[in-house]
């Protein structure tokens, strides 16, 4: 009984105990914070990586790709009933430029996806900005775009208000002015966008009639050259002192021509104007990864400011994968104007800063992978359309890696039988991988982080152990006489040892409790803290990368339990040697001196 009693008394009345408690509390605080934030980050990335490309991906082993994918999907659905959905996919490389921004260019990875099928096999639909719900399409209704833009405008305005409300003593930092300027220009764009979107339909019909008029004008053969000719002819006639009526006729023709040219030029300008404001056709739409440079950015509070608006024209260069001829027609980049209709956030930064999404069939064409049909009326396929991957989603909600590997194997088997029916389906072989296998680079990087975390926490634990050890050692030395008395009144060595073991554990428990409370409140308020740091000191870690809007601020119960257990263990381990020393102490020695 005395063990507990003494232990509690020592805990209460020793100043040095407070240091131990404070030390353990700090260690535990650190653990709670590090583990909560780290696992939050890591879990987010893993979750995002999982949703990127479905559960299982089949890819062609060379750039030639896979043919007869639709037929294959049919067969897999029969052969492997666990598969719920599948969709073909093309991945290729290119460059993005923004119309009107001469200096902008950004290398991108281009994903060709079918909508809405792609959303059935991946999380694509969940990360979109405009098309938040409903079936995905490359032609979102204008009302949706207008509505979303209006919301976005309001949000941007809030950001502006917040920026303007910041107070500075003395000089306003130049970054702040820059930031204000950027937000203001984003707002301007958004204003334009709403009006433009409202007018898109009108622009479209306007454009059509203008184009017709222009064609007629061109067909009439009237161009600037004709004006010059007519002017020369008139000058010649005047010089030749040609008859009055001939000169009059020539003068009239010149006026007529000048009018026509003026009208044609105006038409051309108008066409260009309306073209820049209406959308490209549904096959030339593009969704940008939220994180593509210069089309959006983050404020120091982690808020996204979108600099693109729906209908924004971009130019896509595609370096074609298909057609193996090495002449210039096979190698030259395909260039296409595209209208931005949405942006996508997967949650995996390297994906979001590099990926753009275009319609599957469009990318097929740009890569020279589209089907070719016979010129005659039979519509016979000469060369089938190809894709680079087929993405599968299984029916089970949270399949384990083993289950997925099993399904992968069966898809592979299904492919082997399929190939007998369609020998041209692939030139070499295919690889079927689970999402984990496919994302191993990302996941191993994440795993590396986890190992780092374990190392850090290991060091923290060792610090806690040493702390407890040193402090208990000092206490045991100070308590020599007490130990002697305890033995003289019949306490056993084990009993004396357990006083100090218990004491170590108690120090750790109290420290852990304080640390958990502090750590919990820190993590829960980490976003407020980050915002405060950003506003007061311009320290804005969220600006980098598009990983999160906010810091993960979840503290999980099992984490806390593990940490508390670890802390108590650390207390016990630290107390081990001092306790042993106390147990070994000879009562006579212990009592000898005051």
């Amino acid at each position: 009984m005395y063990k507990l009693f003494l232990c509690l008394r020592y805990l209460k009345s020793r100043l040095i105990a407070y240091f131990a408690v404070a030390g353990v509390a700090l260690c535990v605080l650190m653990m709670v914070v590090v583990i909560s934030l780290f696992t939050g980050f890591i879990d987010n990335i893993e979750k995002a990586a999982k949703g990127l490309f479905g559960d299982v991906v089949m890819s062609a082993d060379n750039q030639h790709g896979l043919a007869y994918y639709d037929e294959f999907i049919e067969q897999v659905k029969k052969d492997v009933p666990e598969v719920q959905a599948a969709a073909p996919y093309i991945l290729s490389y290119g460059m993005l430029r923004i119309s009107g921004q001469e200096h902008y260019r950004n290398p991108v990875q281009i994903a060709g996806v079918r909508l809405p099928e792609h959303a059935d096999v991946s999380n694509f639909g969940r990360g979109l900005f405009v098309q938040k719900s409903g079936d995905l399409t490359w032609e979102p209704p204008l009302e949706t775009l207008i509505e979303r833009m209006a919301e976005e405008r309001k949000r941007t305005q809030d950001i502006q208000t917040e920026l303007q409300s910041r107070k500075f003593d003395g000089l306003v930092p130049p970054e702040h002015k820059y930031e204000l300027g950027r937000v203001a220009s984003a707002l301007e764009h958004q204003d334009d966008a709403v009006t433009n979107l409202r007018n898109v339909e009108r622009y479209r019909s306007e454009l059509k009639s203008l184009q017709e008029q222009l064609e007629i004008a061109i067909a009439e053969g009237i161009g600037p050259g004709d004006v010059d000719l007519a002017r020369e002819a008139l000058a010649q006639a005047k010089a030749d002192k040609a008859p009055e009526d001939k000169i009059k006729k020539l003068e009239a023709k010149l006026v007529m021509l000048e009018d026509a040219v003026l009208k044609s030029e105006t038409l051309q300008r108008q066409v260009a104007y309306y073209e820049s404001r209406t959308f490209e056709g549904p096959e030339d739409r593009i969704v940008l990864g939220l994180g593509i440079q210069a089309l959006s950015y983050r404020t120091d509070l982690g808020d996204v400011v979108r600099l693109w608006t729906p209908g924004q024209k971009v130019i896509l260069y595609v370096f074609p994968l298909g057609r193996r001829s090495l002449d210039s027609s096979g190698l030259a980049p395909e260039i296409r104007n595209m209208s931005v209709i949405d942006d996508s956030r997967s949650g995996v930064p390297p994906i979001d800063s590099a990926f753009v999404y275009v319609p599957f069939e469009t990318l097929q064409k740009l890569n020279h992978m589209e089907p070719e049909y016979a010129q005659d009326d039979s519509g016979r396929v000469i060369s089938p359309g190809r894709c680079s991957q087929v993405i599968f989603k299984v029916k089970k909600a949270d399949p384990t890696e083993l289950e997925l590997q099993e399904i992968s194997k069966r898809i592979q088997r299904s492919w082997l039988t399929f190939r007998k029916r369609f020998p041209g389906a692939a030139t070499i072989g295919v690889t079927v991988e689970t999402w984990r296998q496919r994302q191993r680079e990302l996941l191993s990087a994440v795993e590396g982080q986890r190992i780092m975390m374990v190392i850090v926490l290991g060091i923290v634990s060792i610090v806690a152990v040493i702390l407890i050890f040193v402090i208990l050692y000092v206490i045991v030395m100070q308590k020599t006489a007490d130990i002697g008395v305890l033995k003289s009144i019949g306490a056993s060595s084990v009993g004396v040892a357990s006083v100090f073991l218990l004491y170590g554990a108690a120090l750790a428990t109290v420290g852990a409790a304080i640390g958990v409370v502090l750590g919990y409140s820190f993590v829960r308020n980490v976003n407020n803290l980050a915002n405060w740091l950003a506003v007061e000191f311009g320290f804005a870690p969220l600006r980098q990368g598009f990983l999160f809007d906010r810091f993960p601020d979840d503290v999980q119960l099992h984490t806390v339990i593990y940490i508390v257990i670890a802390a108590i263990l650390a207390g016990l381990i630290g107390a081990l040697i001092p306790s042993f020393k106390a147990a070994r102490m000879q009562p006579v020695e212990a009592l000898r001196y005051e």
């Binding site: 009984m1 005395y2 008394r9 006489a481 033995k487 003289s488 009144i489 019949g490 005051e594």
Partner: protein
């Protein structure tokens, strides 16, 4: 009470080795204390008085010879048995009190009972022991100091707490190592009065002192000279 003597020491040797040199602290010591006797050991500093008391109190083991407490030879007992005897049958009072500074007077006095009682039984026995400790503290004259800390007490009061603690488990034998050594003569006299009162109630006491005046107040005085008994006096 058994009829056999409370303490029998027979042919006890204790040698400390200091490097190559051997220090014969006790050499062939024989002595005996009857039940209810109040015996003091006197001797010069370094003559081995404390060593002998520690051997009798089972805080140390002799190199040779036997010690019997209430008829039971304790020299060869196991650790557990010795712990139990220390707890139940022996009370120790030290020159420097050795109180627990974190505990109150009451807590210090109750400590032997706590050592004796497992955690689960404590709940039911707590009240009983608290009353008992209060009673003992009352006897030593500290009824109004129960909640005080040792550092708030004078030397004499501290020694009273130590005596209360030593008597808490009602030991057969009370061993006291210069209980007055650190006190002025007036206070020392009070402590002696207290010990005498307990002795009158039947408490066997073996006390070490180098003060012959103090020793004179006991039933019998044993002289220890350079680790040997120099004859009993009464």
């Amino acid at each position: 009470m058994s009829r056999s003597p409370a303490i029998i020491v027979q042919g006890v040797h204790k040698t400390y080795k200091l490097g190559r040199q051997e220090l014969h602290v006790l050499q062939n010591v024989d002595c005996q204390v009857e039940q209810g006797e109040f015996v003091s050991i006197v001797g010069a500093s370094g003559s081995g008085k404390s060593t002998l008391l520690h051997l009798v109190g089972l805080l140390d083991r002799s190199d040779e010879g036997h010690i019997a407490l209430s008829g039971q030879d304790v020299s060869e007992l196991s650790f557990r048995a010795r712990n139990r005897i220390r707890c139940h049958d022996i009370g120790f009072v030290f020159q420097f009190y050795h109180l627990f500074s974190e505990l109150t007077v009451l807590g210090n006095a109750m400590l032997p009972a706590m050592v004796d009682t497992p955690l689960l039984q404590w709940m039911s026995k707590r009240k009983h022991y608290r009353e008992k400790a209060t009673a003992v503290l009352e006897e030593v004259g500290l009824a109004d100091r129960l909640k005080h800390r040792p550092r708030e007490l004078s030397g004499g009061e501290r020694q009273r707490v130590a005596i209360a603690r030593a008597l808490m488990n009602e030991p057969d034998i009370l061993l006291a190592d210069e209980p007055t050594g650190n006190l002025d003569s007036k206070t020392g006299a009070k402590i002696m009065k207290l010990l005498n009162r307990y002795n009158e109630k039947g408490q066997t006491i073996l006390m070490v002192t180098h003060d012959s005046k103090i020793a004179a107040q006991t039933d019998r005085v044993m002289h220890l000279v350079d680790g040997r008994m120099a004859g009993d006096g009464s």
